[in-house]
């Protein structure tokens, strides 16, 4: 099987869905879907000749025969998996997707949640003008590739809406369950977050795959943050090894808004994140944090982009990577400071620890600056664990193994600490220590 069959399956799936539209092809959301469909057919799956995909050869990953249509029946085993997983995560509020579709009966406390969840088409019917300015509006770059796949197939897409002045108390868990019992499966997901003026919200995302086959999650989200709103997004990418994640998030921020995004990746065989933020107002602040722990032959690729388009804004970006075995990690952090974005303050840091000689880090911090009254800096370091520090700990009676764990955790800690939700944080720390102790036998 090959890339061609992926494209063919995608084509068939879209065309079947298209036929089922029954003449509503002029319906605006469907027009956007059709355009995205065409765009993807034009670009195809990127090769390593594409600078944006230089270090990740997707072709081996796409050699699996992926199907686009999931079974509508939830088997007993899958139902138990879902139930157990939700119990262990124990969210206060949860939006549950099963094979890409919202399953209301599994969702938790959504009725009392301060935010509103609407289907994309429903949102369009209620706010057509607004919708036109939002949907797929942040995906116009020539590098938009898999974003087009999720948009084209966004029939189950949704909008999370926070009205003006709404301040949520609990984070919203967005749990995406995928069943691969019958075949390798592609699940596109597509959503929009709309945080209106002075609202405050927090979203925690996680995908959980069940079954022996491989899942391919193609997730695309657009996050619109209005004046003085504050949005926090945590992506916990800890799915089982038989999974691939292509995650794209585009954030647009208006004046005096703050967005903090923290992405922790240690699952799946391949994770590719395209996380972008663009500023459309003054006093905007963006925080982007990332932690990747890669093992075996895992590939984790973090592409970030912060576009300072307006004056008096700031951004802080910190990505930490820990690599062992034959894993590969890619970091490409773009920071643009446009001509009119005077007084921008942008800071980026990318630090990597290599624990093995067969792991590879490819780091490309990238500053593109067109304004003069700015303060921008980036730093990238790469090395092994400090031998002297290990020796110091050992001389205090700590074993090499514990010393390694301690120092590696310390390295990762400042990213983990950015996550406000304690249960998620604890979960990561525990997983992290397990990963380390398995490694340093």
């Amino acid at each position: 099987m090959s890339v061609d069959s992926f494209v063919q399956n995608f084509k068939n799936t879209f065309e079947t869905a298209q036929k089922a539209l029954n003449g509503s092809s002029k319906f605006y959301p469907n027009v956007v879907r059709a355009n995205a469909f065409e765009s993807f057919l034009k670009s195809g799956i990127p090769t390593t000749k594409n600078e944006e995909w230089k270090y990740v050869n997707l072709f081996p990953f796409f050699s699996i025969d992926f199907q686009f249509s999931a079974s509508q029946v939830i088997s007993n085993e899958f139902a138990i998996f879902i139930k157990d997983s939700i119990e262990s995560i124990n969210p206060d509020v949860a939006l549950v997707l099963v094979n890409g579709k919202i399953l209301p009966q599994l969702c938790k406390n959504l009725d009392s949640y301060e935010g509103k969840i609407l289907g994309l088409d429903q949102y369009y019917n209620e706010h057509p003008d607004e919708f036109t300015t939002l949907f797929h509006s942040l995906q116009l770059s020539p590098n938009t590739i898999f974003e087009n796949v999720s948009t084209a197939l966004s029939f189950d897409g949704f909008v999370v809406q926070y009205d003006k002045n709404v301040v949520t108390e609990k984070p919203l868990f967005l749990l995406n369950f995928i069943d691969t019992t019958n075949n390798h499966i592609v699940i596109p997901t597509r959503y929009i977050v709309k945080a209106e003026k002075l609202s405050q919200a927090s979203i925690i995302e996680q995908t959980l795959t069940f079954g022996p086959n491989t899942s391919l999650s193609i997730a695309t989200s657009e996050v619109f943050v209005d004046e003085q709103a504050n949005v926090t997004i945590v992506k916990l990418q800890n799915d089982k090894k038989e999974s691939i994640v292509l995650d794209s998030m585009s954030i647009a921020q208006k004046s005096s808004s703050t967005v903090t995004s923290t992405t922790v990746s240690y699952g799946s065989s391949l994770i590719r994140n395209n996380h972008r933020a663009v500023h459309n107002g003054s006093n905007v602040h963006t925080n982007m944090f990332g932690l990747a722990i890669a093992q075996d032959k895992q590939v984790i690729d973090n592409h970030t982009e912060i576009d300072h388009a307006t004056a008096h804004c700031s951004s802080t970006e910190s990505y930490k990577h820990i690599l062992s075995d034959s894993s590969t990690v890619v970091f490409n952090g773009k920071v643009y400071v446009r001509e009119q974005a005077q007084k921008t303050n942008a800071y980026q840091s990318n630090k990597t620890i290599l624990l093995s000689d067969t792991a590879t880090i490819n780091s490309k911090p990238q500053l593109e600056i067109f304004a003069d009254d700015v303060k921008c800096s980036h730093g990238a370091t790469c090395g092994g664990i400090d031998e002297e520090a290990i020796f110091y700990l050992r001389s205090r009676g700590i074993s090499t193994k514990d010393a390694m764990s301690m120092l590696t955790l310390a390295f990762a800690e400042d990213v983990i600490m950015k996550i406000e939700n304690e249960s998620v944080r604890t979960r990561i720390e525990e997983d992290f220590l397990t990963l380390l102790s398995n490694r340093t036998k």
């Binding site: 000689d357 590879t360 500053l367 067109f370 304004a371 980036h378 990238a380 370091t381």
Partner: protein, 481 residues
């Protein structure tokens, strides 16, 4: 603010002082590029068969290539058939001594401040002067020959040391390397050749001075420097061109080979005509420079001060093959008006315990764009490799841009790679402080810029450092308020 604008205008009006042309009888190849052009050049130079073969292979390969588009510069597509690939001052017969060089030519170099008569020379610098495509004079040849050092024009070396040329030409930059390297390999005209024998420390700075004079011509020099075991050489390169309102292409290739414990220090002060204040004219400087640290404990150090050219596009690189070898790159790149520079380095660590250091200082003013692009690659087998990179950008005025594209590709856990980059503007408070001590705005800028570039300028040999400092001041005259 008004003050700032005035000064900016003043800056853009500062003139290129090397912009004169010389009236010298020239001999040209027919315009355009074909196998015949390649054969013409080879024949003109009376080259041995192997070299013609090399050129033809390169030419045929070039035909299969497309000109690259990935760099962060913009310019109209070059019509490669509209360029004259060979221009040379007409000479009567073989020159026996400097006295026989066309006096007009000697005058040109005098004007440039490069006197070629040996008695007038600064002690300690031997010069090879390349006018358009041809080396016109090499000084101090005899003195160098005593030590067994070969320093002559490339064309001459082809005849006097064909075995060395055959062995090393294309060994660091193969003609397949990139579009412009292929083009250069097909049509290169002349350049410098230098061989330092085993155990010899070259007693003086070797220097090549490049001058483009003729219209519509491209300049394609080829420089090859070989430092045998435990030898040392410091080599300087300077460049200027007349002011013309068309763009001229300069596509040189420089290859350096450092054997065991040898050291090559290569310094460039590049001041090709940058075009006028409206961005008309100027040199396209598309150069491939690469050195290989072949032997253990060898060292190659690149230092460049780039102030000229409409477009500069070059990445002097080091392949660190020998264990314990060292690669260095020190760069100051200044862009003003409509200049564009995309420059940086590649440090490829393949040997164990190899070390590299990158210090890049970019300064952008006017409407210019200045990019640092660099690669640090550490292969799995390159245990204990070390790299430190520092890339700083200074912006003057709000219509220019500074960009940083570092690539770090690290493949083992014993290596340590560190990269730091900052972008800022000239600090108003520092300017005011200087003013308060009686120093004018312009002098303050020069002072601050020289301080900012000090780490790089310190790497240059004395005579060059002084020239480079002046160049910086001229290039940036009044660029900030």
């Amino acid at each position: 603010m008004a003050n700032e604008n005035e000064l900016l205008t003043e800056l853009t009006d500062s003139e290129y002082k090397y912009g004169f042309t010389s009236d010298i009888e020239q001999e040209y190849a027919p315009k355009g590029l074909s196998e015949d052009t390649v054969r013409f050049i080879s024949q003109k130079k009376n080259e041995p068969e192997f070299l013609l073969e090399f050129r033809l292979k390169a030419y045929r390969h070039w035909l299969t290539m497309k000109d690259p588009q990935w760099q962060n510069v913009n310019f109209p597509t070059i019509d490669f058939q509209d360029i004259i690939y060979y221009a040379a001052p007409k000479k009567k017969q073989e020159l026996q001594s400097l006295d026989e060089v066309d006096p007009e030519l000697l005058k040109t170099f005098e004007k440039l401040g490069i006197p070629l008569s040996e008695q007038k020379m600064l002690a300690g610098v031997a010069v090879d002067a390349v006018f358009d495509s041809v080396s016109v004079a090499t000084t101090f040849k005899d003195k160098l020959a005593e030590k067994g050092i070969v320093f002559c024009s490339f064309s001459e070396a082809v005849h006097s040391h064909p075995e060395l040329i055959k062995k090393y030409l294309g060994s660091v930059v193969p003609y397949t390397d990139n579009f412009y390297a292929a083009l250069n390999s097909a049509v290169f005209s002349d350049g410098s050749f230098c061989y330092i024998p085993k155990g010899v420390r070259c007693p003086m700075e070797l220097s090549t001075y490049f001058r483009i004079n003729a219209k519509n011509t491209g300049q394609f020099e080829r420089t090859l420097i070989i430092a045998d075991d435990e030898s040392y050489v410091s080599y300087l390169e300077g460049c200027t061109a007349p002011m013309r309102d068309e763009n001229q292409l300069h596509a040189a290739v420089v290859e350096l080979v450092a054997h065991e414990k040898a050291e090559i220090k290569y310094s460039t002060v590049q001041n090709w005509y940058p075009g006028d204040k409206n961005g008309v004219g100027g040199i396209y400087n598309f150069v491939t420079k690469r050195g290989i640290c072949k032997g253990i404990s060898s060292k190659i150090s690149w230092t460049q001060v780039e102030t000229g050219s409409a477009i500069t596009w070059k990445y002097p690189s080091v392949v660190l093959q020998g264990d314990n070898s060292v690669g260095e790159f020190y760069s100051v790149a200044v862009t003003n008006n409509f200049q564009q520079a995309d420059t940086g380095t590649k440090m490829i660590h393949t040997g164990k315990n190899t070390r590299s250091r990158i210090v890049s200082k970019g300064i952008s003013a006017g409407k210019s764009q200045n990019s640092y692009r660099g690669l640090v690659k550490v292969l799995k087998k390159a245990e204990n490799a070390r790299n430190f990179s520092q890339c700083d950008s200074l912006l003057m005025g709000d219509t220019c841009g500074a960009h940083t594209f570092p690539y770090l590709e690290i493949g083992n856990s014993s290596s340590v790679v560190e990269h730091e980059a900052t972008t800022s503007k000239i600090n108003e408070d520092i300017l005011f402080y200087c003013n308060q001590r009686g120093i004018s705005q312009e002098d303050a800028v020069a002072l601050i810029v020289n301080g900012y570039c000090k780490e790089v300028l310190n790497q240059l040999p004395m005579e060059f450092a002084v020239e480079a400092q002046k160049l910086l001041a001229i290039s940036l005259e009044g660029s900030v308020g």
